[in-house]
Structure formats: C-alpha cells, structure tokens
C-alpha cells in the first residue's frame, strides 16, 4: 500500500473509531491499527514491536505526525482528559480520493472499530499484547503463550493473560467466520 493510500486507510480507521464513541487517542489508534494489520492482514506495512504499553509502531507514530503536519488530522483537546485525534476536512477529502482502497478494507476497518472502539486503554493493551504473542508463537499452546505474556509483562497475572488470549482467539475466529478474507485464527 503506497503512502497516500495508507494515509487514507488510517484516516478511515479514525473516522470509524470516532463514530463508535472511541476516545480515539494515539493509543487507541496504535492498538486498532495493530489488530487491523497483524490480526486481519490489512497491509499497512508498519512494524509493531513490544513496547512499554503493548504493541507499538514507531512508523505509525511518524505517520500520525505526518498526517498532522499535512493538516489531514487534528488534535482535539478535551480537558481534563487527553487529546483525541480527528480527521480534518482535508482528511475527508483525501479519503474521497481513494474510494477503491477504502472500500477494499472497509469490512476489516469496521470490524476493528466495532470490537476495539469502545474499550479503554488498559483493555486495549491486554488484547494487543495477546495478539502480538499469538502471532509471535503461532504453534504454541495458549498456556505457553500466557507464560510468554507473563515474561513480557510480569505484572499481568496468568488468568488475565489466558482471558486476553481467549478473547483474541474468539475475535479472530469471528472475523474469519464472517468472511473477512485475510483473517486467520
């Protein structure tokens, strides 16, 4: 996916998240984009690494900065809470220029917005970490994956890790059964 198309898909994700009352701060976008790419196979061509608060992409952070400097995205302040990210009129105009790309990934984007949009940052961190480990250890058992999560995040207890892994498996299975092409359980 080239630069402008990738920008359009990320802006579409922001739009869908906001329509579902997601707070849509950077963490929400990071974790949703991670699920979109590593969960549902949308080729955002960005690398997610395990960082302080779960999977994180430095490239996506730069892309969000680029969208802001190009006035395609703005930061909406809601004191006393953190900022929300919002597509601008120019951002919507950019999405309009890529109807085929937006439509190609629209089911995946909407699925992620439906499932992750309403969650808070802590819940997203758990889901994101569970998906990351699931992808890192494709042939491992859930118990082995839970141990890996505990290794990465010693403060997460085993039951919480297992619950998060189960939730990810359910989400991937649901995506797969509803015919979202790239999804693999």
């Amino acid at each position: 996916m080239d630069g402008a198309k990738r920008q359009a898909v990320i802006l579409a994700l922001l739009k869908e998240l906001r329509e579902r009352d997601s707070w849509c701060g950077e963490t929400h976008v990071q974790k949703s984009a991670h699920f979109l790419q590593d969960g549902l196979g949308v080729p955002l061509e960005t690398e997610f690494v395990m960082y302080k608060h779960g999977p994180f992409s430095f490239e996506l952070r730069e892309l969000l900065g680029e969208l802001r400097t190009s006035h395609l995205l703005e930061v909406e302040l809601k004191p006393p809470y953190g900022p929300r990210l919002k597509p601008t009129a120019s951002g919507f105009a950019l999405m309009d220029r890529f109807p085929n790309t937006i439509s190609r990934y629209s089911r995946q984007v909407k699925f992620v917005a439906d499932k992750l949009g309403p969650r808070d940052v802590l819940a997203l961190e758990k889901i994101g970490t569970a998906l990351y480990v699931t992808r890192q250890l494709p042939t491992a058992t859930q118990k082995q994956r839970a141990d890996e999560i505990r290794q990465l995040k010693p403060r997460v207890d085993k039951l919480t890790a297992l619950a998060a892994l189960r939730e990810v498996a359910d989400l991937l299975a649901e995506a797969s059964s509803s015919g979202i092409e790239e999804a693999t359980a």
Binding site: E62, G65, V75, L77, A93, F98
Partner: protein, 436 residues
Amino acid sequence: MATKVLHEIRDPIHTFIRVDAAERSIVDSEPVQRLRDIHQLALTYLVYPGATHKRFEHSLGVMELAGRVFDVVTDPRNLRGEVKEQFADIDTGGNRDYWRRVVRLAALCHDIGHLPFSHAAERDLLPEGWDHERLTVQLILSGEMKELWEKMTPPMRPNDIAKLAVGKKKMKDEQFTIWELILSEIIVGEAFGVDRMDYLLRDSLHAGVGYGRFDHYRLIDTLRILPSADSDEPQLGIEEGGLHSAEALLLARYFMFTQVYFHPVRRAYDMHLKDFLRQWLPSGIFGTEVREHLDMTDSHILQTMRSAQGDPTSKGNEAAGQILGRGHYRVLWKTNPPDLAQNPDAGSAIFEAAKVEFGEEAIRRDQHNPAGPVIDFPIKLYDGRTVSSLAESEVLANIPPAAIDYVFVQPELAAKARQWLDEKRLDVLDRSLAKE
C-alpha cells in the same frame, strides 16, 4: 606518582564534566575521539557562523546529564509505592553502580556511529537498513571496544550499553525490560531524553539563538519514574512543579527546529553535500565496516571538497562549488496551510509541475516529518494523583509539530520560477487531485 581518579573537563554548558578513570578509557577510545571531527550541525555554520561545535562535546554533555537524571530518578526518596516495589532490587548486588555506569557510558557512546556531517547524509547515503544508530551498536559491540568493556570493574555487558544508547526504536528485535526501557528513555526519550536536552542548550549557545534555552536544572530535579496515567507500566514523568520547564523544553525544541535545524539554506547545503558525497564516494554511498567508518571524518571530506572545487574535471566539482562558493539552490515553495487546504499533497504537485517546466536538474525537494502527533507523559500532582501531561497542560497539547516540505530551484532560475508559481499556483494544485 598517584593516579588521578576523577578528571574534570571544562564545558560551556555544564561548567565541569567529571569522568572517572574507567570512563576516561572510553572517552579516549578512537570511536569517541573521532567525534572531535564530526560537526554537530553539519554545514549549519555556513548560515550560523558560530555553530562549529562537534559531536564530542555534545557526547560528554549527554553523559553528564544522564548521570544526573539517573541519580534523581533512582533516589530512594523519589521512588514511591508500586514503582518502588517494582524496582526494589536496585540497591542489591551492586546494581545501582552498574546501571549508573551503563547509563553514563551509553550516553557517551550514543553518537559514535554518526557519519561525517552528522545527519546530513544519513538517510540517503547508507545501505538499505543502516542508520547511525545501527553503526553505533556495531561499534559498541565491536572487538575494538570489547576489550575496554571487559577491563572495567565489574565488566560491562556491551549489549546493555548498546540497548540504552539507541533505545527500543532502533533495536526492535531485542527484548527490553521495563527497567531498560526507562533507562534508555533517559538518553533517547522523546519527552525528556538528555540527548535532546543537551543538543538544544548547546546548539542554541553556539548558533547564537536564544530559542533552545529552558530551565534544565529544575526539569531534571522534578523527573520521576511514575506509573503511567492510564496503563500498568511505569515511565519517565515529572512532578507538577516541573511542568513549566517541561513545556519550555518542548517549545524550545519546536523553535530550534523551525528556526535553526529546518532553516532552508541549511537544508539546501545538506542537499549539495549529499550530491558531492554521492559523486566522490567510491560506490556512491558510505561503507559500514568499522575501520572504514572510523577513518571517515569531516576534515577529510572538506579537504577533498576544496580540491574538487578548484578542479573542473574532479568528481563533485559542481556540488563543491555550490557549497564553498555559496551557489546553493533557492526556495521556490515551502509548505503552508492555504496550499495544503487546496491540495493535501501540495508539495508533490508543485514539485512535479516545476520539474516539467524547468527541467529535472533545476528543481529539488526536501521533505521531513520528524515527530509523532503529540508527546504524552505522566505528571504527579501535588495531591498525589498521577495524570496525563496532555490533560494538565494545554501548552503541550497545542505545540505544533515541526516539519518541512521545501521545493528548491537553481539560483539562476529563482526569479523566473517564482513568477511562474505566482501565476500557476491554483492551476497546479487543482490539476493533481485525481481520484483513484
């Protein structure tokens, strides 16, 4: 004769920088000494004549600040609650001394991978997948330095130094513990990295601009390891009393980028420098072998540039003239909100149209977006609560990201090209808005 155990080095920013004998062995090593011959700000001195300072003194300054921050954030009086429990083993088995030394040495070595003229050529003149951080890691882990790490008491683990020197962003395949992430944040963190603190203060002093100054004493004194405002894991944050100095740091960064680092003439010189190097380097790019890297310095390149300027048959003659003869390209267009409102990709539209009008060789583009959307860190309020900085400070949330998008034109065509752009701007911006 008694051996001196602590060495003092005079410094215009920090007054004295003190190093012990073990640290001195690294200061004296070839990779660090080479930094005496790498300009901190490349050819910026052609625009700001005072900006002739080198990576060497910056690296010493980063080491000094890293030690100060480590002492503040790991002071038992400053570690509270769950964070204190999480890092309870800091005072066992020599951990504190070991990690303090790792932080300081990583800070000292964080720039040893820089190419001649620092960042100027890094993006375009290294093989795919290489940057100065990867060269830094390679040098830290190299045989040349291994012996020095092993001689220390206790011996340093080179991988610890490398991880802290470049951070997770540049060692994506390495697993970092939360402790290591926090310590690397002390050096290269987006919000409070001492690399940033030192370069803002130092570049500002040498360039002769006041924009980079902020109260770093107050800021460092209020830094803490805090639980994140909305997550389980701790990170570097500040006590409420340091908020204004944190705002000043991030504003200083914005102003230094817009006024100094992104100065259009400075960027044009970077472009010509890359042209020169592309032609002059045997394979058109820099090598990545340790020896090759250590032998390549600014003096070496400036000397060959001067020779090339005087010899029309020499490789890089034209670019050498553009730099040393001050024949740099001129700004035709720079990014601006009205043009972006018209066309979000205004830079590409104008660049492409100008190339068609004036020829590929006459038109150049320089685009760079260095930052993420907003910088967030925890703040501990006077009442004990921890909140997000963006919830507490409207200043932080409103600092615009610094970015550039310039289209340059050959000096001889500048007047004509500007007139062309005045007449054709709207047409050019509208023309390239086709749907897929």
